[in-house]
Amino acid sequence: MEHKKYWQSFGELNQSAAYEASSNDEFQEELPFEADDKGLFDAKTPRRDFLKYMGFSTAAAALAASCEVPVKKAIPFANKPEEIIPGVANYYATTYVQDGDAISIVAKVRDGRPIKIEGNELSPLTQGGTSARVQASVLDLYDTARLRFPMADGKEVSTFEAFDKMIGSAMSTLGSAPVVLLTSSVTSVTGKQVIDQFLQTHPGSRHVTYDAVSYSGMLLANEACYGQRAIPSYNFADAKVIVSLGADFLGTWLNPVEFAKHYSIGRKINEKKLAMNRHIQFESMMSMTGANADYRYQHRPSETAAVVLALYAALGGAVSAPSLDEKLKKAVAETAKQLNASKGAALVVCGSNDPNVQIVVNAINESIGATGTTINWGSTYNLRQGVDADMAKLVDDMNAGSVGALIINGANPAYDFFDSGRFADGLKKVKVAVSFNTKMDETTQLCKYVIPDHHFLESWGDAEIKTGHVSLLQPTIYPLFKTRQWQDSLLKWSGATGDYLSMVKQYWMGKLGSESNWDKALQDGVITPASDSGASGAGFNSGSVAAAAGALSAVKPGTQTELVIYQKVSLGEGQQANNPWLQEMPDPITKATWDNYVMISPAMAKSIYNIDITTNKDADAYEVHPEKPAMKVTVNGKSIELPVLIVPGTQPNTIAIAVGYGRSERLGKVAAGAGKNAYPLVAFTGGNRQYAISNVSVEKSSADFIVAQNQTHQTHEGRTDVVLETTLATLKSSPEMFSEKREEKVEEYAKYTRDYAKEATLYPHFPRPGIKWGMSIDLNSCTGCGACVVACNAENNVAVVGKQEVARAHDMHWMRIDRYFSGDLENPNVIFQPMLCQHCDNAPCENVCPVSATNHSSEGMNQMIYNRCIGTRYCANNCPFKVRRFNWSDYMSADSFPDNQVGIISDASMQMNDELTRMVLNPDVTVRSRGVMEKCSLCAQRLQDGKLKAKKASRPLLSGENGEWDVKVACQQACPSDAIVFGNANEKESDVSKHRVENNGRIFYALEMLHVLPNVNYLAKVRNTDEVIHVEKMGEKHASEKVS
């Protein structure tokens, strides 16, 4: 059969020449340029085709450019790990370990990344409490300055095997020269075994424990008195009278989270239980703990010995009372009376590092029956074990050239040793110097070999905080960098075959009996003693007391200016100095960020700088400018120039400087710019480092400094609508004094319904069934520690702005702790008031927003719609609490104008916007862009999560009913003293409702007279003093304060 031929045109049918030509040349029109065999790029463009050619190339370039969008890969799991559901957080119990500190925590892990740390509620010590440093430690994991690989002579070593080989060969050259392992206090039980194992393989070697801030005096005193070089447990919960002699036990001393938790238990009062512990503080500078004291007395730092002796004498100790001034004498007598009255339920703690002082303190504790009741020798702390003499000997040995190898973990003496120069010199004489540290700290910089350690969130391990109380570590993320846990390295170097994990597991399985017990313990994160055996004492050897007292009575009080070197609540000893959250956290007392400074008394300000802060003129001029006067402090020929902050409550002859600042550039950009190093000023007397130094010369300096504070005004100007306080005696005599006043107002404005929202307004009232969020903050519990501030930052992706911006009052914190001084300027009362969005039901911010970007939810929440906000700032202006924060610059790199902020925002913000650091961001919370207002959202993401949880369980949301919680907000969860209670205020059984009912006598709303109807209430602060303030008199007192 013949094939049919199909044709499209006659041309095709006839096979014409024209058709042939056209079918061979598909694009018949001429190309816009001459195509010759030179190729496209050499083609000549005729003048007449210029426009065509240009159009083509522009279009092509535009097309090519716009096609090139960055490829963002989101790869789903091929095999989904069983426990990971994208978008759902997992929680792992582990332990915050920072040198000698150990706190049981729970890490929140989202999609494989730890993003938030909570306290572990199963720990009987901290009971879910955290500190600012614990909260911030998750950011250290993502620190851009972390060491990323092992190094020798500053060069990367490709593998651990190669590194181990290098160490092996280096060690083999040592001969008989001893190996010294220098660490900060090791709390790990198995870690100590690892060390022992290592030391055994290197005969003649030893382990030296060195803590940045020494507790050596206490250890030695306890050794003298009790035969144990250890620190016993302190039970602040059961102490009715707590006397602290310069110990900042709520902020920085020993184990502040535990102490704050237990202290707050003793300070909780309600209408049924109008009793609380009494806290008496003797100190030279204004510490956070002193700020919380019921009675606070000042003395020169050099008078510590005299105060301790006098107190011992007043308690019947066989010492002669030294001479003290009248005020102090009375104070000591009064304190002794209080202690005597509560024998067996009293506790004296002392922050001095002088063994003689601590011996007398031990004697005092013996005489008031504290040992065996509030002091438990049955369980001793492992948190601080370093004895200064060991370190001093090591430095001598190093300088003598008799140390072969120095292996350093945690310790950073090149920075924090008082004679760091000598340590550094000695280190040069050490043949092999190895550092395990995670960052290029000052000591690591001097070491030839660096093998970076894991962050604790990447580590396995255990920490025995005190005898019987163990907290386990488990990794929450695969190690980010080429790092190895120091225990593993030491095991390798001591020739062990197994790894550290199997060792930990083996050890604890042996202790706990079975693998399932180990699993359970790992899940819980803590191993606690089976039964609370109660406190036990220890044999007290009083022999040392007389000698100690003798030595102390020889101490003459100084006559010149004296210096106290202290730790800031935010930075502590300074290990976390490169943490922007901590640097930007305001100090509880001075409210300063990003700096250390000299704290001076108002009297000294007057005598040296002629600033009289009792006059409004000087006070205003001082407070409204971040530029502060400067001071040059000289101690034993070493001098330091720092800005000055006038802090009421500082002893007039005393100045105070914080450690932890003035870091090396290589530790990180954040740390490098902040403050100056005060460690070199530490004295070394009697074999121990001393933090109180007499005979300091101070002079005015002309250097320019700015100090960035987030609160500048000192007092509350007698504004009792803002904050209320009273004394326990007053509250007992008239428990209704606050409620009566509120009652009068209710009678006046809301007689019929007793509800301001229904009456006292022109507007209709709409019922709001269901949930109504409410918060209650007990000012009596708040210690001002700032854990909530950092927790809020971490939970809500709050921007870090840097020092310059804080000094321009551009700080972004959603939560702040207002600190007010009142009363005597030289020794004022301090009150802390956590201040956050009050979620007013009648919010002044809401009705002024022209675009309704902020509005009210049916659950009583004042909410922000970021993408609706146009940034008029009217809401912030009209907020009576000034809690709204505006994104002045693109702090979070979330802007529509990307990457134009170099030179505009600080290095700190830049660091926070690094790809690595941004892993810490909470994916549930929008990152706010420039030009947008923000403020506390009551952790809206958590509330949604909690509601979902309740919904899935088909029951109403639980917020504290029978101790069950579906939701806790970040600040509430972080608070070590349970000052913040949050929940559904419409539910009678919820914690917040009960809290309000039980404390009707102390409840108040800030600025209630404005009729803004806040959903956050406060409970008045109560000081446990015997002074009765009459209600009428209180009015007068405030009236008189108002003038100043």
Binding site: Q711, E717, P844, V848, P850, T872, F881, W888, G931
Partner: protein, 479 residues
């Protein structure tokens, strides 16, 4: 019997022996010739300022409000101060055009055109601030209530800022219409005198085909009256609403019921001062002393002393009420933050008191009222004082409000905040220079209207008439 009535109190509104043609010559001539050197110098300085302002705004928009020194406590500073100040200045024009028209104040004709132009330019300047004070100015359209696909999401009608949007845009629209409708006959005059085609075309288009027919005049008069009627309440409402930004808030020092009348008086006060500053220069530069006479200046000085005194009473009332309220927050705001030379912003309060209340009292003296140099000096002082007033209200109040913990650092402007303000001066004067070059700065048609009753020429003619015999008069006027 006298046919001529010459007021013993009122001076003639137009000096010199002017006839209609001469007026047209005097006023329209400057449009037709090249401007003088002074004009060029002034114009280029203005443009330079404007460009600096544009750059300042560019910085702010590109890098954020952080380019300014506002902070968490002082969320509004120079931006809103300048806004209120410019809006205030924009008050005199409409007052002169509308209210004085309704009250048949003939003297307004000499100054109304320039004053209205000033109003429009001042409102244009004012408008920049609320727009560019926004953190995300590219979303400024969110404040317009229009159907949208976002829900629809509506604006918040209870926000005073939104009222501002309506108040100011209405005011601007009405003022512009008023000004432009007044311009029509004059633009037609310019067109008729035009010698080039282009000029003829442009002014022809701009004058909307005005022919000067009776019908046109009749409609023009009606329109003027209608617009005057519309504009009169606006004079009172605009600054009232601007004052609501503060009065409806809860901040001590802002939450003040006296604000609406006090703001309106202050606005007229500053508006007249600005008119004085401008016209004293313009009459000199464009040789218009015979149209803008000392009489005009004196009349405006009277308004200044009146409104200045009203403002002064308002200040004292505020202090009294703060004392009388026994409200410690009010008392702190007024007695500590403001009326206290040693408080951080005390200097601004005393600056305001001196400039606004004390110094205008000198105008009780007729000699000083008629002294042009002194008037110029005073007009500048008054405007500085009125700037201080807004600064004092805005900044001292929010810098120290309820919680002492939130009191923060001293607010002083950054270079870009100052630059933005300077830029609006640039905008204002650039517009004004262009206006004086291309538009008749005095309402030609209207001044001719008052010439009949007030010009020297008319008086001379009346004198002759008076001396004429009846027959002669009848003869002369016989048709």
């Amino acid at each position: 019997m006298s046919l001529k009535y010459e007021s013993q109190l009122r001076e003639p509104l137009v000096d010199g022996n002017k006839d209609y043609h001469q007026i047209t010559e005097d006023i329209i001539r400057p449009i037709e010739v090249k401007p003088g050197r002074l004009w060029y110098i002034g114009f280029f300085i203005s443009v330079a300022l404007l460009l600096f302002g544009v750059y300042s705004v560019y910085r702010e928009v590109t890098y954020g409000i952080g380019q300014w020194n506002l902070h968490k406590t002082v969320g509004w500073g120079w931006d809103i101060t300048n806004f209120v100040w410019w809006v205030g200045i924009g008050h005199a024009g409409t007052l002169i055009s509308a209210i004085l028209l309704l009250f048949r104040q003939g003297w307004r004709t000499g100054v109304n055109r320039a004053a209205e132009a000033m109003t429009i330019f001042a409102v244009m300047c004012a408008g920049q601030f609320p727009i560019f004070h926004m953190g995300r100015v590219w979303l400024a359209f969110f404040i317009m209530p229009y159907p949208n696909t976002r829900g629809p999401v509506w604006v918040n009608f209870s926000s005073p800022l939104l009222w501002d949007v309506f108040a100011i845009s209405t005011y601007f629209t009405v003022s512009l219409l008023f000004w432009y409708s007044g311009l029509l006959p004059d633009l037609a005059s310019v067109r008729d005198r035009a010698k080039t085609k282009l000029r003829k075309l442009l002014y022809g288009v701009a004058s909307f085909g005005w022919t000067g027919s009776t019908k046109h005049w009749q409609r023009h008069e009606s329109l003027s009256l209608v617009l005057a009627g519309l504009a009169t309440p606006l004079v009172l409402s605009v600054h009232t609403i601007v004052s609501f930004d503060f009065a409806t808030s809860v901040i001590p020092g802002w939450h003040t019921t006296i604000f609406p009348p006090y703001f309106v008086a202050g606005a007229i006060f500053s508006g007249f001062a600005m008119v004085q500053s401008l016209l004293i220069v313009v009459r000199r530069v464009l040789n218009l002393q015979e149209y803008i006479t000392v009489g005009h200046i004196e009349a405006m000085n009277k308004v200044i002393v009146l409104t200045g005194s009203i403002v002064g009473i308002a200040y004292l009332t505020e202090l009294f009420i703060a004392w009388y309220s026994i409200n410690q927050y009010e008392q702190y705001a007024f007695f500590y933050s403001r009326a206290n030379l040693f408080s951080p912003y005390g200097w601004a309060y005393y600056g305001m008191m001196f400039c606004n209340v004390v110094s205008p009292q000198l105008f009780w003296s007729r000699k000083l009222r008629r002294n042009i140099t002194f008037t110029f000096f005073m007009s500048v002082i008054v405007n500085i004082g009125m700037w201080f007033e807004r600064f004092v209200i805005i900044v001292t109040s929010i810098s120290r409000d309820y919680l002492p913990s939130s009191w923060s650092y001293y607010y002083s402007p950054s270079i870009w905040e100052i630059g933005f303000y300077m830029g609006t001066f640039g905008l204002f004067f650039t517009c004004f220079f262009l206006f004086s070059k291309y538009f008749p700065v005095i309402a030609v048609a209207e001044i001719k209207y008052v010439l009949k009753t007030s010009g020297e020429n008319y008086k001379a003619k009346m004198d002759t008439v008076e001396n004429q015999k009846v027959e002669e008069f009848a003869h002369d006027h016989a048709h």
